[in-house]
């Protein structure tokens, strides 16, 4: 799933490890989510959204919204 995680992280000068520690997952998980290889569960997506103080849809791009834009 496309997302703005890398941008949000860069704005705060956080490494992947910094973010991983804040949301209590491994650095590999952060990398997999950032690169779109893994879609987080709803609880983890909420944890990420709460950390950045933004709604989930501002961080993760809805696949259906993305495809409708393409049409």
């Amino acid at each position: 799933m496309e997302n703005r995680l890398r941008i949000l992280r860069a704005e705060r000068n956080w490494s992947q490890q910094d973010l991983a520690e804040r949301i209590e997952v491994s650095r590999q998980s952060v990398n997999a989510i950032e690169t779109g290889k893994y879609d987080p569960s709803l609880p983890l997506a909420f944890r990420i959204a709460e950390l950045f103080g933004a709604p989930i849809e501002d961080i993760f791009v809805s696949p259906s919204r993305r495809s409708s834009k393409a049409i």
Binding site: V25, S26, Q28, S29, A32, P40
Partner: protein
């Protein structure tokens, strides 16, 4: 490989179970080879080495329950699916080959060896497709 706290606990359990396996297997092999095992306990002695292996399956299940990192847990689940798919496919094919007399009869415990090899294959697939080997 991602060394989470749950993974470390899993490793400790597997090490203890492996030691237990050796402790059960070596006397059983020696005992049966030299006909030292009384018939009354032979089934128990023969099954004892299987128990730690069954325990390892339990440890894997416990690891999946305890693992808090959902991505790492998914990597392990994928490995288990690869291992199970490989083992069941191989057992099915071998069963028919054996049934038609085209191959010799193989001991059942080789399936366990194949299953653990399948875990390794699953790790390789994870590495190639996701960039992370998993456990």
């Amino acid at each position: 490989m991602v060394r989470t706290p749950a993974w470390k606990r899993y490793n400790v359990r597997v090490i203890w179970l492996s030691l237990l396996y050796c402790a059960f297997l070596l006397p059983a092999v020696y005992g049966f080879k030299h006909q030292l095992v009384p018939h009354s306990v032979s089934y128990v002695v023969a099954v004892l080495p299987a128990l730690p292996i069954i325990g390892i399956f339990g440890a894997i299940g416990r690891y999946l329950v305890e693992e808090q990192d959902e991505y790492v847990r998914m990597l392990m689940v994928r490995q288990i699916l690869w291992a199970s798919g490989l083992t069941l496919s191989f057992a099915t094919a071998w069963g028919f080959l054996d049934n038609f007399g085209l191959v010799g009869h193989a001991d059942g415990y080789w399936l366990i060896v194949l299953w653990f090899a399948g875990l390794g294959l699953g790790g390789l697939v994870n590495k190639l497709t996701l960039g992370d080997g998993g456990c």
